[in-house]
């Protein structure tokens, strides 16, 4: 009896914490029917926010996947100089508030920053454009692929790579034909986590965004902006869209997680 009480208490807590708020948003969104929602989502500002979010994600995720797999491989194969330092830098976004990461990009790429000075001198605008938002997003979603890939690489060991080598494979052939397929579920899982983080990022991009509605706002920033501008229908609609994207990612993650378990 007692164990059931505990189980349902945990379940109830999760429902209260997660399901109820999402449901409330959905309920509020459709309180006045479908057409205001459609109008809100098809407005220029909302479409632009979705496009900007997707653009940033589409650039930041491949960068982090390629960098993450490469770094993970060097770390797992003990070929990385100063591994403790590299690990610390990669883990930083886990420990540090995204606002601080945004701030560091702001300082670095600002008019007087180390990189910013050069960029402004050559008339290349980065800060307050989508480029700075990509840089901030890359930084906050840096650890996910690396952290997924390293333990799997350590587990499979080097024997398969060596076997490929003696069979005549070059280092690149060995990597693409043997190593990468062996870690593919870890890469997929890490990629999904990276996408989720990139889409949902708020704090870091907020600091480097121009803040202009219909131009410089990602979906999360747009939701925040609409709440502040007392435009509840637009806020709820965009919020629900964001939640929906997350739900798709969540379902994908669960599906891949069970597949990965079956394989090993």
């Amino acid at each position: 009896m007692r164990k059931y009480v505990l189980r349902y208490a945990v379940l109830g807590y999760l429902v209260m914490l997660l399901a109820v708020p999402v449901f409330v948003i959905a309920y509020r969104t459709f309180a006045h029917g479908l057409s205001p929602v459609w109008d809100a989502l098809s407005s220029h500002a909302a479409v632009n926010a979705l496009e900007l979010s997707l653009l940033i994600t589409a650039i930041a995720v491949p960068i982090n996947v390629i960098f993450g797999v490469a770094t993970g491989w060097f770390l797992a194969r003990r070929k990385m100089p100063l591994p403790w330092l590299v690990n610390a830098v990669i883990n930083m976004p886990f420990a540090m508030s995204p606002v601080i990461i945004g701030l560091s990009v702001f300082v670095l790429y600002g008019r007087t920053g180390w990189i910013g000075t050069y960029l402004f001198a050559h008339n290349i605008p980065v800060l307050f454009t989508w480029k700075a938002m990509v840089i901030a997003t890359v930084f906050v979603s840096l650890p996910f692929v690396v952290r997924e890939v390293v333990p799997v690489l350590e587990e499979i060991g080097t024997e398969q790579e060596q076997a490929a080598q003696v069979l005549g494979a070059s280092a690149l052939q060995g990597f693409f034909r043997v190593t990468l397929p062996a870690i593919r579920w870890a890469v997929v899982y890490g990629t999904i986590l990276t996408v989720a983080r990139a889409l949902g990022e708020y704090g870091a991009v907020n600091l480097v965004s121009s803040g202009f509605v219909g131009q410089g706002l990602t979906l999360p920033l747009y939701v925040d902006n609409r709440v502040n501008q007392l435009d509840p229908t637009a806020a709820y609609s965009a919020g629900l869209l964001l939640a929906l994207l997350s739900l798709i990612i969540l379902v994908g993650m669960t599906a891949f997680a069970s597949r990965r378990r079956r394989q090993t």
Binding site: I156, E159, Q160, A163, A164, Q165, V166, R177, R184
Partner: protein
């Protein structure tokens, strides 16, 4: 393909895996590198393969120096102790791997892989994944994969070490037949002296990074150069301060000229043979003697009997146990 190893040294930190090792392996032979674990035998094999770099020394394959040649260009087949199967590939794709990276024509790959799977009796399992195979099947697959590229030199690192006794026995006989059939030079590493004795033409005994002795199985068994080789190649016991094989001790009920008196402590029947443990008195280690069951019956030996032990006419080797 002959191999000459010259003055090879290799350390891992403070650990000296190989100390100035020089050995020769003749073309077409099946050579066993035998020794206790941690003795350096796997390191030697991996350096020959190019998977490990020596600190000093050279490796010559067919007279040409390959010390600085990459593993993938040495034309060797390598079989790992834990199979190193490509887990995401089917048996067929595993075996085809070497041919695919060499960009062999499709028709040739198909014919060669089919031929090899027949050779290792895995034709029916071609579409399976390694996880669906038994240990013995996985190792046969690994062997077929290594042979696919037609290596002139086949290296096996404790190939049967992870398998159970019965499968190990089967596979070792099968490896010998395979070696004769495909006509390569084969080197395999093992810590199992029986395995080495049974199938190899030549044995190289390595201990603590040094070559203790090399030669045919008979040479090593009958004329070991030191206590270590003698002890590693077969059972030994001490009699009157000498290291001897238990089957080289003669048991008598009467005191001969060189008979050591002893009292029978235990008789253990091992089927055809019986092991006799005798106590030569205070201050001496018990002596183990290997006798046929018939011999025990002839002498009507019982526990507690007084017997006289001497080394039989042609001892394998005598060494004073104190020497080394």
């Amino acid at each position: 393909m002959s191999i000459q190893v010259r003055n090879l040294s290799k350390s891992f930190g403070d650990f000296h895996a190989l100390r100035n090792v020089s050995v020769d392996m003749e073309s077409g032979q099946l050579t066993a590198v035998l020794g206790p674990s941690g003795g350096g035998k796997s390191t030697l094999l991996r350096i020959i393969a190019g998977l490990e770099e020596a600190d000093r020394g050279t490796v010559l394959i067919d007279g040409s120096d390959v010390t600085n040649v990459a593993a993938r260009n040495r034309g060797i087949g390598f079989v790992f102790q834990h199979y190193a199967a490509f887990t995401h590939m089917t048996v067929w794709d595993n075996v085809a791997f070497g041919l695919k990276v060499a960009k062999a024509p499709k028709g040739k790959i198909k014919a060669r892989v089919g031929e090899l799977l027949d050779l290792v009796h895995l034709s029916g399992l071609a579409p399976r994944y390694p996880a669906e195979l038994s240990g013995g099947q996985r190792q046969r697959m690994a062997l077929a994969r290594a042979l696919a590229v037609e290596p002139a030199l086949l290296l096996l690192d404790e190939p049967f070490g992870a398998l159970d006794v019965k499968v190990r026995q089967e596979l070792r006989e099968w490896l010998r037949r395979l070696h004769d059939e495909v006509n390569t030079t084969t080197i395999f590493v093992t810590h199992d002296q029986e395995e080495a004795m049974e199938i190899s033409d030549q044995i190289i005994v390595i201990n603590e990074g040094r070559v203790e002795q090399s030669g045919t199985p008979d040479t090593l068994y009958d004329r070991p150069v030191n206590d270590f080789v003698m002890g590693f190649l077969g059972p030994v016991t001490t009699l009157g301060g000498n290291l001897v094989r238990p089957h080289d001790i003669h048991v008598s009920r009467t005191a001969g000229s060189a008979g050591h008196p002893a009292r029978i402590e235990r008789l253990v029947s091992l089927g055809f043979e019986t092991r006799l443990v005798a106590d030569p008195g205070p201050g001496a280690d018990p002596v183990t003697v290997q006798l046929t069951r018939n011999h025990i019956h002839e002498l009507a030996l019982e526990v507690g009997d007084q017997v006289y032990l001497s080394v039989s006419a042609h001892p394998a080797r005598l060494l004073t146990a104190l020497e080394g």
